[in-house]
Symmetry: C2
Subunit: 441 residues, 2 copies
């Protein structure tokens, strides 16, 4: 049995108009796409934006136990947006399709696994005669993935099933945005504005009448002392707020000092199955996560999972199939508010699907804490792996502890994303300190 | 118990950007809104774009048995788009709100019934403390009504629950639209292009390589002999196709010589309940309907209802409450394809909710055929009613047959919409002939 893995890490359903990405952002996305290697099993076929770095491939395969030479990589020619994203134009390239057909000839594909199960993936699966291997194909083929990832659509779906969301609304005109913002500011609250499609808090801005608010989940706080300032802000930011193409804008109350949480699920034909929960690390937008979450107690965690599952059940009914992360904040007062669903393999999926489920042995599951962060500068991926081993810090399956390098961002900024696995939050922090010391200076 | 009726007959969820409507279109919409009078019961409060014409009010009340003087009408001041539509700005007018509060003071409102249960209605209900009377409020308040009426969103939801839709896709860029159109034309099919939000076929165009196709459900057929012509058409029509604000475009196979059908349901907290089915009369866009439908046999009708109910159940799960019309075509080959849902009181709702359910006596229900058409030119509404009575053609509750004037379009074009009720399709046509003869010349 073969899985066809499609590493389409940056799609319009995720970030809106792709033309807005800088070359560096594109490079980060391309590196992030390589994380698909963690999902590969012997004999799988992977469609990647570019061929894998041999050191990273060897490292991942060494940990997952996959024979690297059993994998087949197919890379389509660059498209209109370059060679870092698997855009629609790349996935319909005739030469690429011919090569993929040749590679798949004689294999039995039982799963099409994409980062973003969107219309382009549905079209590819249909063209390859693999509809049976993509249960969500009909929904995806008609643009359904945009619904699951829309921060505007989310609010209607969540409100419709009674899942708590921050007070606020979805606004379609500058006047509506202005009124909704002013209403919240006038009540003494700060405001989170969200672009309909974006990831990692990059499409968010916080507005405050009192500028002492700390930004979490957005890149900045914009002080707006009065309604005239709100109107001027909305006018100035209108193109950005609407994704440059008339999208709706989410206006909601911003809750400061919250713990940002998620519950991740796999939605299949029959059911919604919990993959795991986590707590995001924000500086000020997401740079990592820790799982299981540290802030919520058991009852809060149970509510997170229960409400998240209700959201996913709604998405299951309308036809989505695949991974869903339901994101929420936990206020200092103990209230949970959900603020988006992400229908894709997220920045946390490998922690649950691979690290916890495949790298950890049965006896260690449920008793390990994982902290993952991006941005550790290293001389090179290979040297970093060697140094980790020499220092005795590398992940060891026998103990179920140690450091994993989840992702190689070397080509973008010379960094790796690391995941520290240990038996307690304290042990995680101690191991992380040792890791940081190893690569300091 | 009081029902608060809100006659918001033309909203963005129905027709997209309201600034596109001509004064005459606006006047038609304003006249159409008066049809809300049919729903009124003793003591109800109606929010209308303008106060009812006394003759029309007396006529409707005479048939429904409602005391006209027990009704209260509240009309907000004109808004940015004039006085024919109940736009958001009109529904938040402080003077209007104050009057409505005064009118409602001391009454128990158990239902908020809107033509389009959209965010503006949800905001009004919330402001009046009537959330309990609008079960779909949470969903509507977050823009959910846009989902239910989006012809693009429809395709994902329908495909997701396995309800048959015409082959095609939802496209976001000129290149995607061009490719999708060319694919269908190249297969020898005609193409229906749909603007995401519009009513009555006014946002549709048919494209054909062979221009002998007859337009049904769209205003015209555009001959496009080759791909270059397709590209030029898409470029020229792009602003119109995207509603002037970056909306997605529906591209689907057009099936000629079809019977256009609908099944209408009421979606409430507990269930989806069939209101009735009908067959639309197209010249070339919808001008009326006949209920029950004449073309489909019992098994086709059963499938129409079953599949329509599945669509509505999906909308019920995500939180929509209210009337839904699921529209489909029946091909000459006997296949049913659904092509949109409309979450509102439609042009057919009064036939089922009022004419069949309230005007027809118990013993006549299920054995009457109703044909409704717009555009009968009359000297005036009052004279038309008088002439109908004098000719013995007026609807008589004792026989459950005769002619009803559903709507007065006098201010727009001097016409009325008529509904002929008789015991068989043949009797309907005979009665219609008598009616047309009465007002000929």
């Amino acid at each position: 049995m073969t899985t066809l893995c499609i590493a389409n890490n940056r799609t319009e359903e995720m970030v809106g108009d792709l033309t807005g990405a800088t070359p560096l952002e594109q490079l980060f996305a391309g590196c992030g796409a390589q994380r698909m290697l963690w999902w590969a099993e012997d004999g799988d076929v992977l469609v990647l934006p570019w061929g894998p770095d041999p050191e990273y491939l060897a490292y991942v395969a060494g940990l997952t136990g996959v024979r690297a030479d059993s994998l087949t990589f197919v890379v389509p020619p660059p498209g209109a947006h370059g060679d870092q994203a698997l855009t629609t134009d790349r996935l319909v390239d005739p030469g690429f399709l011919a090569e993929l057909r040749r590679v798949l000839d004689g294999r039995t594909v039982d799963e099409v696994l994409a980062v973003s199960p969107n219309g382009a993936v549905a079209g590819l699966a249909a063209a390859l005669g693999l509809a049976h291997a993509m249960p969500g194909l009909p929904f995806a083929a008609q643009g359904g993935n945009a619904l699951v990832n829309s921060k505007a659509g989310f609010r209607a779906l969540a409100a419709g099933v009674g899942v708590p969301i921050p007070p606020g609304t979805v606004a379609g005109s500058p006047a509506e945005v202005e009124a909704a913002v002013e209403q919240l500011l006038g009540q003494g609250h700060s405001v989170m504005l969200k672009v309909e499609y974006q990831v990692g808090g990059l499409g968010n801005e916080i507005l405050a009448r009192d500028e002492k608010v700390e930004a979490v989940g957005a890149e900045r706080v914009v002080p707006l002392p009065d309604r005239a300032a709100v109107a001027a802000y909305v006018a100035e930011r209108w193109t950005w707020l609407t994704g440059g193409r008339g999208q709706r804008v989410v206006v909601e109350r911003y809750f400061p000092d919250c713990a940002p949480l998620y519950a991740q699920f796999l939605v299949d034909d029959a059911a919604v199955v919990l993959a795991g929960c986590g707590e995001m690390v924000m500086r000020p937008v997401v740079v990592g996560e820790i799982t299981p979450p540290v802030t919520p107690d058991a009852s809060v965690l149970a509510e997170l999972v229960e409400q998240g599952a209700r959201l996913c059940e709604s998405l299951r009914v309308i036809g989505y199939r695949g991974t869903v992360s339901a994101d929420a904040v936990l206020t200092p007062g103990g209230e949970i508010y959900f603020h988006e669903t992400n229908g894709r393999l997220t920045g946390s999926s490998h922690l649950h699907d691979i690290f916890a489920a495949r790298l950890l042995r049965e006896e260690h599951r449920g008793s390990r804490h994982l902290l993952e962060l991006a941005g550790l500068k290293v001389p090179s991926f290979a040297e970093a792996v060697a140094a980790l081993g020499a220092a005795g810090l590398a992940f060891d399956p026998r103990t179920g502890t140690g450091v994993l390098f989840s992702n190689d961002f070397g080509p973008a900024d010379g960094s790796v994303m690391y995941c520290v696995v240990a038996e307690s939050p304290e042990a995680v922090r101690a191991l992380e300190s040792a890791l940081l010391a190893l690569f300091a200076g």
